[in-house]
Symmetry: C2
Subunit: 243 residues, 2 copies
């Protein structure tokens, strides 16, 4: 049995996605008998750095990492929250200018499309930002006392991400808009520190991802089960199911 794979490629919101109630873990459970969910999350990374390491994360080698030999059924690309750090604030070293972000995202998609032509590539925009919360939960010293990320900037990167998806002809999850429309309390219900996701925030991402996969024909129901389910095993002749 060679299982399908879903690769999650992104920053800390991806790296943390197997935490309690995380969207990656929920995906893995959802596809537990149909596909493997492969975690490639790199906390703090922007698209510039992601592009630098693409060949190492997804090597082409005859000796085979297999995860790469066989085309995955989907790759979820989820970068932008770090690119959108403001260039004149305390996390400036992670900032990537908007036009370069678009180019980089385009290059990442092209890499996957060239490597695995049949694989579904889905983009996710950066989430919205709670500017005030970013002051309460600093990741690095912040002598300026100004938020290193703002919702306004995140929105620009989200729109750029959507534009890239349009250019590439691939699906995109507009998480920036979706979360702000989800509830008026999105800043506290969906975000834990103004950037990262709560359980509810993770659930929104999970629901959006399985919805988008389903739209493309990649639902649990449409995929073959890995071996007979217990409900398909005849209690009077269990071994029949394994012949």
């Amino acid at each position: 049995m060679i299982r399908s794979k879903i690769i999650l490629f992104g920053d800390s919101i991806t790296e943390d996605s197997f935490q309690f109630g995380g969207w990656g873990a929920s995906l893995a459970q959802h596809f537990c008998r149909t596909a493997d969910v492969v975690l490639r999350g790199y906390s703090g990374y922007n698209t510039r750095w992601a592009l630098k390491v693409l060949d190492r994360v997804f090597p082409t080698s005859p000796a085979g990492d297999g995860g790469n030999e066989t085309a995955p059924m989907a790759v979820i690309v989820f970068f932008g929250a770090n690119d959108a750090c403001l260039p004149d604030r305390c996390s400036a070293f992670q900032h990537v200018p908007l036009h370069e972000y678009k180019q980089n995202l385009n290059s990442i998609v092209s890499f996957f499309k060239k490597k695995w032509p049949t694989t579904l590539v889905i983009l996710i925009t950066p989430p919205p930002i709670d500017d005030d919360a970013r002051l309460r939960y600093p990741y690095v010293p912040n002598p300026q006392g100004l938020p290193e990320r703002t919702n306004e900037a995140a929105g620009e990167y989200a729109r750029a991400c959507i534009a890239v998806a349009g250019e590439c002809g691939i699906p995109v999850i507009d998480l920036w808009t979706r979360m702000q429309q989800f509830t008026s309390d999105w800043k506290t219900t969906l975000l834990s520190d103004g950037l990262h996701l709560t359980h509810d925030g993770n659930h929104v991402v999970y629901e959006e991802v399985i919805g988008k996969l389903r739209n493309e024909g990649l639902s649990v129901e449409a995929l073959p089960d890995d071996l007979p389910l217990i409900t398909d095993i005849d209690p009077n002749d269990p071994l029949k199911a394994f012949m």
Copy 2:
């Protein structure tokens, strides 16, 4: 970057291990930058059925599923809860006699040892059973009104599992004993329906597994990180880390 893999091979307690707070998801988060956790859980399966499907779950193919081409760093084998169903009760079709359970488990370990000589194989015994709860949460019609699993029988299978580990010279997690010693409230604190695990029960398994891996030198600290951590990136010259 070819990541190490940890394969989880077992029944429903494994298949469900990426649920909210599950032990598989916790392992995946723990090893998020060092190893992939690969889920091979088959709800309802006993060792007899597991043995029948071993070649299909772990195929040897030059075309490569890679998960199998490269030897994983560890395989966690967690069967016995279904084998231990009583032969004269409502889940008898899942029952496997004690001596056959031992033989089957031995054969499963031999399969991995032959396929991947350097891979660490760890056995986990079945968990303890809350006999009364098994009556309150039936999985199949139970006209007899008697529990289909008992803690006494689970204990016999646990001891058999430990004996197999001894014969094979591999580590074993005595979950049956560990859980009963963990708290006097183990029936409600660690089990959700007399068999499956609560969040706390999942946490016990997670802690036992990382402890056992650590004993064998397979800790996060001992394994190489997949690409530079954000803390290793120089804010004044970020790209240096990627040369």
